[in-house]
Amino acid sequence: MSEASTPTPQEDERIKETSALRQALIRPELGGIVGTIAVFTFFLLTAFNSGMFNAAGVLNWSTVSAQFMIIAVGACLLMIAGEFDLSVGSMIGFSGMSIALLSVTFSWPVWLAIIVTFAVCIAIGALNGFIVVRTGLPSFIVTLAFLFILRGFTIYLPQTLERKTIIGGVSDVAQGDWLAGLFGGKILGGLFTWMGNAGLIGVFERGTRAGDPVVDGIPMLIVWAIVLVIFGHVLLTKTKFGNWIFAAGGDAQAARYAGVPVNRVKILMFMFTAFCATVFATCQVMEFGSAGADRGLLKEFEAIIAVVIGGALLTGGYGSVLGAALGALIFGVVQQGLFFAGVESSLFRVFLGVILLFAVILNTYIRRLITGER
């Protein structure tokens, strides 16, 4: 009796000691880390001599990965907050078209076109969020509606104003614009010139650019991706607001009872997703110098797949921005790597489907480990 009545809590003999491996498994990034190692190993073995891992090749797949990362960060935080945005792809087309129309057709200064576009798109994101939290409808349906609404306007507006669906000439008007350089420029050009001269990276052998390094700087697109990933990761794991994001997605009602402003969190995350889509579109328009009505098709699904590969649960409340960034990296490396390895590019979609299935199964298993469900 005296033994049994000690007030200190006893170790529960029915709970087995959890191994370090099992502890490591309970991390949302696990799938992303394993996938990244696997993908790099595969391409280092099969495509090492194809130019995939020289300066130009690295820049090639880094740029594609960075595109995925930018939209994956927004989609990731929104998914953890318990919602989806299927209008991301249409938002990319719409915002790109908006910048091109305002700056070329209406001859606005490019910086003003960019700022107004950001304001309009973030407001549409807020509207998405407002409708979802007010009506209580699934965000799947609400944003599916916006997928069509925005895509429709993206085709209708240039057709009506210019009688075409691709608006070019943005490069000419963006020449020397202070804000355009923030999306379309490159940084660290001096470093790459030095590396070219020092023989660390390849230089052009012939032509007008002979002697210039093959890579003349890091595109702003990659800078944006890195900044957004760091911002998203810090916001989610190191701030009060990050705790609210998890809580809103984990159980909105329980979070409300504890005093978390769930509706505000969700609307802000819809706005952030719209912001990320607009960053993507602005970089793309500045790079290509044009906007097309079909830009951004299927991007919403690619963002969601990257997020799921990164370990987030489709039901919300669990996930990682770093994981989503790794998911985006896997995407970019595989998409470009198949090209370098000389594999038919349509197989990329097969790969996507297969890896998505694996990721979802792994995530469900990890969820059971965390919550102790059987």
């Binding site: 170790e11 705790n243 609210w244 504890a258 005093g259 978390v260 965390i370 919550t371």
Partner: protein, 264 residues
């Protein structure tokens, strides 16, 4: 008991009525709650227990009647006001988020921050330390503050939620059927927690339809039946059988109980 009744009630609910359209959920209920007492609110399903506590915690506004909190008439616009005033409610299955760690759950909505380079960051070390301290005080043995709530038992989750409310300065703790889904062992843990909380001079409003659980910790018992109170009894003045009869509205259960041989 008389000692408790001498100091002022922390909440007085006076003739509370609540109508939802044509439905009269509460038809004039009056209850006083004193600091340091465990006030059991008993009643069968549909008796109006939930409506009554939601009125007390600011979720519903009464159609008629007055709520006096610490001597002042109160008029809560939404639940956040009542939380700020010190009225905390722990709901049966909506208290915790299973996928989040115990420490993140514990500080949900009240996250501690520390300022680094001008930005307020979530203070993880503080949250972890306080969570571990509070949990061991309540007798819950955590593997670590990062352990997910999903791995805790139902009773432990209720205890975490109660500890959270107490830590953040609740003066009145409303527990909505905390024991109804629990096993014997877990129920006794939660009842022991209620006892600890009461000794800190916090008023506990314990909603249950289990007379045994009520008798184990209750100081006073108020029975609701069809939106009306059938009076408040003090501990020692009423037997479990009498409480049971009051809850069921008297007659019918007595007959039923007779045929079941007193097993209800």
């Amino acid at each position: 008991m008389t000692a408790r009744s001498t100091h002022a009630p922390i909440i007085q609910m006076k003739d509370i009525q609540k109508h939802f359209g044509s439905v009269i959920a509460l038809a004039g209920v009056s209850v006083d709650i004193f600091p340091g007492e465990c006030h059991c609110l008993l009643g069968d399903n549909g008796a109006g227990k939930s409506t009554f506590i939601k009125t007390m915690s600011g979720v519903h506004k009464p159609t008629h009647g007055e709520i006096i909190f610490e001597g002042q008439p109160m008029n809560f616009e939404d639940p956040r006001d009542s939380i700020a005033a010190g009225i905390a409610t722990v709901y049966q299955d909506l208290a915790m988020i299973p996928l989040m760690s115990v420490s993140r759950n514990f500080f949900m909505g009240n996250e501690p921050t520390k300022t680094v380079a001008g930005f307020p960051f979530y203070d993880k070390e503080y949250a972890a330390r306080v969570t571990m301290e509070e949990m061991s005080r309540m007798g819950i043995n955590l593997r670590g503050p990062d352990q997910a709530v999903g791995t805790l038992s139902g009773g432990e989750r209720q205890t975490v939620a109660i500890a959270r409310a107490v830590h953040f300065g609740a003066k009145v703790l409303i527990l909505d059927e905390p024991t109804s889904a629990l096993g014997v062992r877990q129920t006794s843990n939660v009842l022991a927690t209620i006892d600890k909380v009461r000794k800190q001079d916090i008023a506990v409003v314990f909603i249950t339809h289990n007379v045994r659980h009520a008798m184990a910790v209750g100081d006073r018992f108020t029975v609701l039946n069809r939106g009306k109170t059938l009076g408040t009894a003090q501990r020692g003045q009423i037997t479990p059988e009498e409480l049971q009869d009051l809850m069921a509205g008297g007659q019918e259960l007595a007959t039923l109980e007779g045929s079941l041989g007193g097993t209800v």
